[in-house]
């Protein structure tokens, strides 16, 4: 029994909690990508940098708050700064839409043009971010670091394995659940949300029924900016804020959106967790788990690992390819690309 609990704790500590955290971060990112795809009908490669931009503004505001001594112990001050981050990022996305995307939308440009334009936006934002905050690591976490420390858990339960829960992990998971719930409520129960879905479903029919397209586009960008800022800040809080990292996040985020069915919000969330857990499950070394669960006398020499941790990013790639071959519409049948 103790062995079983030990194995369970081990998996909880290295797989389940990190997986849930990472999955939540991906899900929030993928939700933003999927909204743009559903309503504006293009793959927004600038999303990773939008996340970084939102996180950057939040960090700058956090530093401002810290310097005047405002904090919300034991929670990180950054949570207090997020609304400002969202406001500035909304301004950015609306400006980008006004001066970049609207031109192409009015000419009914091919989605490929949009995609290339968004790559341009990605490089522009990347440069802007590094210009403002620099390319280095930024630490903006404060408040209590741990809710549960591995060592305390061991003392508490008497098990050999420890379980640690960081404040940032808990905050990430709780925030993600709240945001996702609010998002669904908005899309399904408000007039604006319904008009967005209508517009996404059939543009011409929506226009005929008197839905204002400019308004739908604006609301979409506002939501995307909010989601990006929250996702970016949570990722930065939990891991570390480094501008380059957000560009690397783009692949798993797109993989999540496509695996779940691009354009489908439920799919984006499911996809986020599928990608996060596949990456972790396939690159995790199960040596100790096997030792705990296997017979007493068993000797395990190897690490019992499917793939080296270097291949983590390849996992999302492989899943992406498999899904595109076998079920291009994704698990929850979004629109095919």
């Amino acid at each position: 029994m103790t062995d079983f609990l030990n194995a369970l704790t081990l998996l909880g500590n290295f797989l389940i909690i990190p997986g849930l955290t990472y999955g939540s971060q991906l899900a929030l990112g993928a939700l933003g990508v999927t909204l743009v795809y559903g309503v504006l009908r293009f793959s927004n490669f600038g999303h990773g940098e939008t996340m970084a931009f939102g996180a950057m503004v939040t960090i700058l505001v956090t530093w401002g708050l810290q310097s005047v001594g405002i904090s919300i112990q034991p929670l990180p001050t950054a949570l207090l700064a997020i609304p400002v981050g969202i406001a500035v990022t909304v301004l950015l996305t609306l400006l980008l839409d006004r001066f970049v995307y609207r031109y192409h939308r009015e000419r009914k440009a091919n989605p490929v043009i949009f995609l290339i334009v968004s790559i341009g936006v990605m490089f522009f934002l990347g440069g802007l971010i590094r210009f403002i905050i620099g390319p280095g690591d930024q630490i903006f976490f404060d408040g209590t670091r741990f809710i549960l420390k591995a060592r305390e858990f061991k003392q508490l339960t008497g098990l050999d394995e420890g379980l640690s829960l960081k404040m940032t992990q808990a905050v990430t998971i709780v925030t993600a659940v709240m945001i996702v719930a609010a998002m669904f409520w908005f899309l399904n129960h408000t007039r604006t949300g319904k008009s967005m879905r209508a517009y996404s479903d059939n543009e011409n029919l929506a226009l005929l029924s008197g839905i204002n397209p400019d308004r739908v586009v604006m609301i979409t960008w506002i939501l995307v900016a909010a989601l990006a800022t929250i996702a970016g800040t949570l990722y930065g809080l939990d891991k570390s804020f480094k501008p380059f990292v957000y560009m690397q996040l783009l692949l798993p985020i797109f993989a999540s959106a496509i695996v779940g069915g691009v354009g489908n919000p439920i799919g984006a969330i499911a996809g986020g967790y599928v990608i996060a857990f596949s990456e972790l499950i396939l690159t995790f070394a199960y040596k100790k788990v096997v030792l705990y669960l296997g017979p007493e006398s068993m000797e395990v020499e190897s690490l019992v690992q499917f793939l080296g941790t270097d291949y983590k990013i390849a996992v999302s790639f492989i899943i992406l390819v498999i899904v595109l071959i076998i079920k291009p519409t994704g698990l929850f049948s979004g629109k095919t690309i």
Partner: protein, 398 residues
């Protein structure tokens, strides 16, 4: 009267051109090509200041060659970008016309500069801190020297420290480059030869946001201590932070590139009790150098003494060769670095220059008690580090 003036001017011009032909000069220029950006950037500034301190001292003495002044030009070799390193070295040689290069900081950058620039151009390259064992055997036309010991030696020292602490098994992760792989392999073979067990020896990439998966694998392999052969401003820090967060390891072994104030500050009290090694010596040269550095307005960080020694040895060898031509200078480096001769400590470069000028011999001790062996690398003495109360403290020298 006019004629005399003309004759004197002619003589002066002739004289100076003759002097130039003989390699003599009124000015010597050294390139300081270090990784000012990249994963070890926090070390670079103090190293550059060290090298420049030696140049300033020589310059002020007015004893080098024909009373030459020494100037320097800095260039960024980065740490991981081999082509950027070669381009930086190319630039200081082609456009700044340097006579020798002090650099680079990281092994990969150093190998790139040596093979792509220094050897084809015939320019002396003296690294303060490249430690990859590969550099001991690489073809170099005798143009390459280093003031740091090879990691083959560090691996041996680390294994001995680990064994003395009673550590039987280690988990190890290394930064995926020439330095990391070289040192990790050296530690593994030495530690296993002493009867220890390496549960895992796996690479990590620098510059990632999240090292959870890497730490997961390390934790499963287990071990008494985690040996982090990485960089203190990069993946090394990420691995340690992530291990502490997950409660995977409590104690870490920190090789040379992980020793620095920025790491203990970033990690905080959880790092207390971790151990490490960094090249260092208890000769009074180190203390003299630390004081000199303080007077000059900087802190003598890791590899800063080596940088001072690298620059000092290069300039002293120029004096011994009576030329600033790299091909003449390279033959004299061993002569000035090793016995026999008068011992020269930091701050005594003028004395050394004078002895060489008078045809005497010197044994440069410098800030790191440098003794060159093999293909031109330091024999290597190490400082054993214990992180205590948020500071890197010295346990002893070995």
């Amino acid at each position: 009267m006019k004629k005399t003036a003309l004759a004197m001017a002619t003589a002066a011009i002739l004289g100076s051109s003759l002097a130039l032909a003989g390699g003599h000069a009124k000015s010597v220029k050294l390139g300081v090509v270090l990784g000012f950006t990249g994963p070890a950037e926090s070390l670079a500034e103090s190293m550059a200041r060290g090298a420049e301190l030696a140049m300033k001292e020589v310059s002020a003495s007015k004893l080098l060659l024909d009373g030459a002044t020494v100037s320097h030009v800095r260039a960024d070799s980065t740490c991981v970008d081999a082509s950027a390193a070669a381009a930086a070295a190319e630039r200081v040689i082609a456009s700044d016309k340097v006579d020798a290069i002090i650099g680079a900081l990281c092994s990969g950058a150093t190998i790139s500069i040596l093979q792509n620039v220094a050897m084809p151009k015939g320019v002396l390259l003296f690294s303060p801190s490249a430690t990859s064992p590969a550099l001991s055997t690489l073809e170099d036309n005798d143009l390459f020297f280093r003031a740091s010991p090879s990691d083959a030696r560090q691996g041996q020292v680390i294994s001995e420290v680990l064994q003395e602490k009673g550590i039987k098994s280690i988990a190890m992760t290394y930064t995926n480059n020439d330095y990391g792989k070289g040192l990790a392999d050296s530690i593994q073979s030495n530690f296993e030869a002493l009867g220890g067990k390496v549960t895992i020896n796996t690479p990590h990439e620098d510059g990632k946001g999240d090292y959870g998966a890497e730490v997961g694998a390390l934790a499963q392999a287990g071990g008494d201590i985690l040996v982090v052969v990485g960089y203190l401003d990069q993946g090394g820090k990420g691995i340690i932070q992530s291990s502490l967060d997950a409660g995977a390891f409590d104690q870490f072994f920190l090789p040379d590139a992980m020793i620095g104030d920025s790491l203990v500050q970033a990690i905080g009290p959880d790092l207390n009790g971790s151990i490490g090694t960094v090249p260092g010596t208890d000769s009074n040269g180190a203390q003299i150098y630390a004081d000199l550095a303080k007077k000059d307005g900087f802190e003598a960080g890791p590899y800063s003494p080596e940088a001072y020694d690298a620059a000092a040895l290069t300039l002293l060898a120029m004096q011994a060769a009576n030329s600033k031509d790299s091909n003449a200078v390279k033959a004299k480096i061993f002569d000035v670095a090793n016995a026999p001769g008068t011992k020269i400590l930091p701050g005594e470069l003028a004395k050394g220059l004078q002895i060489l000028k008078d045809g005497g011999q010197i044994d440069y001790v410098g800030a790191t008690a440098v003794e060159l062996i093999g293909a031109g690398e330091s024999a290597g003495s190490y400082r054993e580090i214990l992180v205590k109360d948020g500071k890197n403290t010295t346990v002893r020298y070995r």
